[in-house]
């Protein structure tokens, strides 16, 4: 525990020292930078970026390929595949990745892509819902969001989504856990600084589901949330919980305009 406390002090010391360097970074990041918003891509190492740049080399594309296969696979009692209703994903799913999570009237709350997929499965296909973080659900989510690759994130935060956006925002700025840190403590106050051996990014969500080299596989945004929460010694919420879906909406708006990068590669 003492070591952790020291690390936190060291990290805050770094803020002062490194602030200058962060500001003088004048690399032109092209589409990966919109105003003062910078995709996690711009914080990744050159080697990591080159893996993402080449669709063949990007191991996450294997998940996307699996998603394509599942898209055409008939399952459930209704005898339908995703393609039975949605036909060509390149057309029908062209926007989805940029506009989710959305307000879903029948439930009176937000749903994200994973939940939309499972709703389709249970209600329209009469098939079993996929488990969170299962290869199937990750593949389908990555596949669907990949169709929107390059499109700027443009979620709706007004109308019925507004109160959920506010809840997400509150979550983002709420300190939590034994380390008493909020999301913003790292990703707003210290983006561009080192936390021990890691470079903190702005924590943008535009590349999820992401292939993380640490995970050695594709993982969902909610897995990342859980990781962050437990690293500040807070009890993580369940993947797919309302808290995380609300946060997902806030983050999407925070990165509004950044291109969807799914599937991104990060360290």
């Amino acid at each position: 525990m003492r070591r952790i406390a020291l690390a936190a002090v060291a990290a805050s010391g770094l803020t002062v020292m490194l602030a200058g360097t962060a500001l003088t970074d004048e690399t032109n990041w092209g589409a990966y930078e919109v105003g003062d918003k910078r995709s996690g891509y711009t914080y990744a190492a050159a080697e990591t970026r080159s893996i993402q740049d080449d669709d063949f080399e990007n191991p996450a594309m294997l998940w996307v390929d699996t998603g394509q296969e599942l898209w055409d696979t008939v399952e459930g009692e209704a005898g339908k595949a995703c393609a039975s209703c949605h036909d060509d994903a390149a057309v029908s799913m062209a926007e989805v990745g940029a506009i989710y999570p959305v307000y879903y009237e029948p439930r009176g709350k937000l749903i994200n892509i994973e939940q939309r997929i499972n709703l389709c499965r249970t209600e329209n296909m009469k098939a079993k819902a996929w488990k969170w973080e299962s290869r199937e659900l990750l593949s389908m989510t990555a596949f669907v969001r990949n169709q929107a690759r390059g499109r700027p994130v443009a979620v709706k935060i007004d109308g019925p989504a507004a109160p959920f956006y506010e809840k997400g925002k509150e979550f983002y700025y709420q300190r939590r856990g034994q380390l008493d840190m909020a999301c913003k403590s790292c990703h707003e106050d210290n983006a561009g600084n080192m936390i021990r051996a890691n470079l903190l990014s702005q924590g943008q969500s535009n590349g999820f589901p992401t292939y993380r080299l640490k995970w050695q596989k594709v993982g969902s945004l909610h897995r990342r949330f859980r990781g962050c929460n437990s690293q500040v010694r807070a009890t993580p919420y369940k993947a797919g919980s309302d808290e995380y879906v609300n946060l997902e909406l806030f983050l999407a708006d925070r990165g509004r305009g950044l291109p969807v990068e799914t599937p991104a590669v990060r360290n």
Binding site: E57, R135, Q216, K217
Partner: protein, 109 residues
């Protein structure tokens, strides 16, 4: 885990004497044998791809022995000189003896 899925990228055509970059990728967990099951404390047995071979027209042109430190979903790229038209055959051999393979055609003009 789902059955490993190999992918290869080889140019379809090439000029004689041209140097080709060949890229390969396969989905595999590459279980190192050094992890423990968090619940039971038992060691998770090693299960990795230990051999990668690329043959051209039946003749081995490139091979590699892999060890537990190779990451999951291993990517391998190497170069070859195009001399004649033919078929590349890529094989990955698993610890449990299963072999995953993929072929690719090359036409030399």
């Amino acid at each position: 885990m789902a059955k490993p899925k190999p992918r290869v990228k080889v140019p379809k055509t090439a000029a004689k004497g041209e140097v080709l970059e060949i890229k390969t990728l396969i989905t595999h967990k590459m279980e190192s044998g050094q992890r423990k099951d968090k619940k039971t404390g038992e060691k998770i047995p090693q299960k990795i791809i230990n051999k990668f071979v690329c043959a051209f027209n039946g003749k081995e042109v490139f091979s590699a022995d892999w060890h537990p430190a190779i990451s999951a979903n291993p990517f391998m790229s190497f170069y070859a000189v195009a001399t004649e038209s033919g078929t590349f055959e890529f094989t990955w051999t698993d610890d449990d003896g299963s072999v995953y393979s993929k072929t690719a055609q090359l036409t030399v003009e």
